[in-house]
Structures are given as structure tokens and as C-alpha cells.
């Protein structure tokens, strides 16, 4: 028997106490559905999606502000594609564009530099959404703006950090026993961040890559820890994730941004869970106002994000709500659990 077969054998026949494992990042959710991991493990082991989709947790106030800015003269919003269909109180950026709003898609915030230089009369606004993985690229953009004396770019920020959100889940959602850590956030913050959480909450936190065997190995590492009543950080992805993370990325983020108590859509305010521009750089802020929230009628995104419900348990899933006409942000984004379950389910894959 190969090592992988042995792992699968043990996971298939696990008959200990029920275990609920939260995977925090959408890429893991996709990999879990793609590889059929859920069907390879005992039904006593449940894999649940968590809050790791930045677009899904962006409050309505952010979208509302973007929509109104997009309709101002000589102003252009630069956004990642994922944000386009997320609805604020009433409209989305797609809707704003249909009404004559100016919105362009970008793949990288750094694209703004060239645009701003070529069109000095346009005020560009970056829709700055993301977790620790994305924030360094906004910091690099600001660095470049400062160095090149570029004045026609501002940022509207809704930047979040994942550790406080995981802490919130540990404190408020009782039945999550362990976490599959977000791999690419770990690249920036280092495995030490999850070691800290494991110590604080005495739960297993395992860092793994995105192929089926690595995820299965991570699940087994969690099962062993739970059987031994341990709660430790373990990294199975040491070739990519270091203990300290990427110090250059951490430093440039700290140079321009500072923590604040951010509002998560459908969840509420989580202490120290957001990043906003430091006071010295407040002149680059496109007018971040007080954050407020709104969830579409009938949408269960808040329960999906906290792992209290699985996407298929939402009454609107797949009927009223699909990627073509999404009701909530979890169906819009490539990393939202509802969208991922829908896409993989539609292809006849396991869900």
C-alpha cells in the first residue's frame, strides 16, 4: 500500500468523534470539490468553507461609495472583476456602468500607474479590496505614486486581515474543531501567525498545498491531533510557506496601512480586523466613510461565511441565485463558497 492509500484508508474508516474542519480560503474549497476529498473521508469528518473571500465580506457601504464615485465627472474606478456584480444598498458597479458610470477592470493595482500617467485629467479610484495577500500590491502602488509624484490616483479601501476573523469564528462558532489555513495568506504572514492562533484557541491549524494528496494529508494530521487532544500549528507546505512569511511585504504594508476595527458583511465589526491608510497618507483616501451593512433579502451569506450553513442549504442556491444572477456576494466571487459549489456541482462533480 502506498502512503496515500494508507492515508485514504485511515480517513475512510475514521470512527472517532465527529470533526468539523474549516477551510479558510476559496482556492482550498475549489480544490476540495475538484478532487472529491469530501467523498474520500468518513462522514464523521466534515469540511466547511470559511470567511476567506474578501469580496464576500466587503460591506454594502463600500459598494455604494464606489457606485457614487463612478458617476462623478472625470473619475474612473479601477476594480478587480470579482467586485463588479456585488450589490451595495441598491446597485453594483456593473449597474453603475450601465448608467454611464466609469469603471475599468484591472488585474493588478500597479496597472493604475500607466493609466494615470497617460490620462492626467482623470481621477482614478482603486477599489482596494483584499486580505494580506493583496495588500502589499496596494502598498507598492502607493510607493510608486509617491516616488513618481503621481497625483491622480486615490484608494477606496476595504482591506481585511484574516487572523482576527478566524479568532472570531473560534469564539463565536462553537463546532469548528480545526482549520485548514489559507495558503497564500500564510506566504505573507508566515506560519507563525497560525501557531499563535493554535496556542490561543487550542485547536489544530494545518497549512497545506492545493492538490488532493496534500489536503488529505492535512486532514489526517488534524484527525491525529484531535485524537491526541492536541491543538498545534503544523505546516505541510514548507516549500512555499516560511515561518516568518515575507518580511518585505509585511514592512511595506505597515509603512502605508494601520489596523482598525472593520465591518465584515453579514458578520459585524471585528476588532483590529481591517487595514486603512495611515494618517500621513489619508490624502490618498477616496473618502472612506462610516461602514454600514446590508444583506439581500433571503440571502444566507453571513451563515455561509461563518460556516454555519453549507451553500446547498440556502433556499435560494441554484434556483433564484446563480453566478449569472447572483443574489449575494458568495455567489459572485471566484472565491465565494456558493459560486464554487455551484460551478463544481454543475459539472457533475461531488459537492
Amino acid at each position: 500500500m502506498t502512503t496515500l492509500e494508507k492515508i485514504m484508508e485511515q480517513l475512510k474508516h475514521y470512527d472517532g468523534p465527529p470533526i468539523q474542519i474549516m477551510e479558510v480560503c476559496g482556492t482550498h474549497t475549489s480544490a476540495i470539490l475538484k478532487t472529491g476529498v469530501k467523498d474520500l473521508v468518513s462522514d464523521r469528518i466534515k469540511l466547511i468553507s470559511g470567511p476567506g473571500c474578501p469580496v464576500c465580506v466587503t460591506p454594502a457601504s463600500f459598494v455604494d461609495r464606489l457606485v457614487s464615485l463612478s458617476l462623478q465627472p472625470n473619475t474612473c474606478i479601477l476594480s478587480f472583476g470579482d467586485m463588479m456584480k456585488v450589490t451595495g444598498t441598491e446597485a453594483s458597479l456593473t449597474g453603475a456602468k450601465a448608467k454611464g458610470g466609469h469603471v475599468s477592470l484591472i488585474h493588478s493595482p500597479l496597472q493604475a500607474i500607466k493609466l494615470a500617467e497617460e490620462n492626467p485629467d482623470i481621477q482614478y479610484i482603486i477599489a482596494a479590496v483584499g486580505f494580506e495577500t493583496t495588500t502589499p500590491s496596494y502598498a507598492l502602488l502607493i510607493d510608486s505614486m509617491v516616488k513618481n509624484n503621481i497625483k491622480n490616483i486615490k484608494l477606496l479601501t476595504s482591506l481585511k486581515t484574516i487572523s482576527p476573523a478566524i479568532g472570531f469564528v473560534c469564539e463565536n462558532v462553537n463546532d469548528i474543531d480545526a482549520f485548514l489555513c489559507p495558503g497564500h495568506v500564510s506566504v505573507i504572514v508566515g506560519s507563525k501567525s497560525f501557531e499563535h492562533l493554535a496556542e490561543l484557541y487550542h485547536k489544530p491549524f494545518v497549512i497545506a498545498g492545493f492538490d488532493g494528496p496534500q489536503i488529505l494529508a492535512a486532514v489526517l494530521a488534524i484527525v491525529y491531533q484531535i485524537c491526541d487532544k492536541k491543538g498545534e500549528m503544523k505546516s505541510l507546505y514548507k516549500s512555499v510557506v516560511s515561518y516568518d512569511g515575507n518580511p518585505a511585504a509585511q514592512n511595506i504594508t505597515q509603512r502605508y496601512f494601520t489596523p482598525y476595527d472593520a465591518l465584515w458583511r453579514g458578520i459585524g465589526v471585528i476588532g483590529g480586523s481591517g487595514l486603512r491608510l495611515r494618517d500621513e497618507y489619508a490624502f490618498l483616501d477616496a473618502g472612506t466613510e462610516e461602514e454600514y451593512d446590508r444583506q439581500a433579502a433571503g440571502c444566507s451569506c453571513s451563515d455561509i461565511i461563518l460556516g454555519k450553513l453549507s451553500p446547498e442549504e440556502c433556499p435560494l442556491f441554484g434556483g433564484v441565485c446563480t453566478p449569472l444572477s447572483p443574489v449575494g456576494p458568495c455567489m459572485v466571487s471566484a472565491e465565494g463558497a456558493c459560486g464554487i459549489y455551484y460551478r463544481f456541482g454543475k459539472r457533475g462533480m461531488t459537492s
Binding site: S30, G52, T134, H184, G209, S239, V240, A248, E335
Partner: protein, 75 residues
């Protein structure tokens, strides 16, 4: 949007590098890492965030291709 992929560094010029990603050559900011030509890098939002081994890079390229295919199917 916070999905990362991987690419191969083809050439470098100051803070930027030409990186081969899924058959396309992209300009990527490399100031957060110190790669050399021939390294695989983990990429996110136009920046290289880590130097990685070839097998980790291949794994990410595969899942990225899969996700893009799915997104296009349901765009």
C-alpha cells in the same frame, strides 16, 4: 481576486520582470522577492510574493487553469 498563480521568470529589469504565466508573458513587480531568471514565483495581483519550487508551481498552474475554465463556463 486573492487567487495566486505561478510563473517562470524570463528576464528582469529593476523592480519588474517578464514572467511566463499560462503561455502569456506578463510584467510583474518583483520588489518583494529576489528571484533570478529561471526561478518560479508565486504571483498575486501583479506582484511576485514568493520564490517557489517547480512542482508547487505546476500544482498551482493546474488549479488556476481549472478555475479559469469554470469561470469562463459560467461567466
Amino acid at each position: 481576486m486573492c487567487i495566486a498563480t505561478a510563473g517562470l521568470v524570463m528576464s528582469m529589469d529593476g523592480d519588474n520582470a517578464k514572467v511566463l504565466v499560462g503561455g502569456n508573458i506578463l510584467t510583474i513587480n518583483i520588489s518583494l522577492v529576489n528571484p533570478t531568471v529561471g526561478d518560479y514565483v508565486l504571483l498575486h495581483a501583479g506582484c511576485a510574493i514568493e520564490i517557489i519550487k517547480e512542482d508547487s508551481a505546476k500544482e498551482l498552474m493546474d488549479i488556476h487553469k481549472e478555475l479559469e475554465g469554470l469561470m469562463n463556463d459560467h461567466a
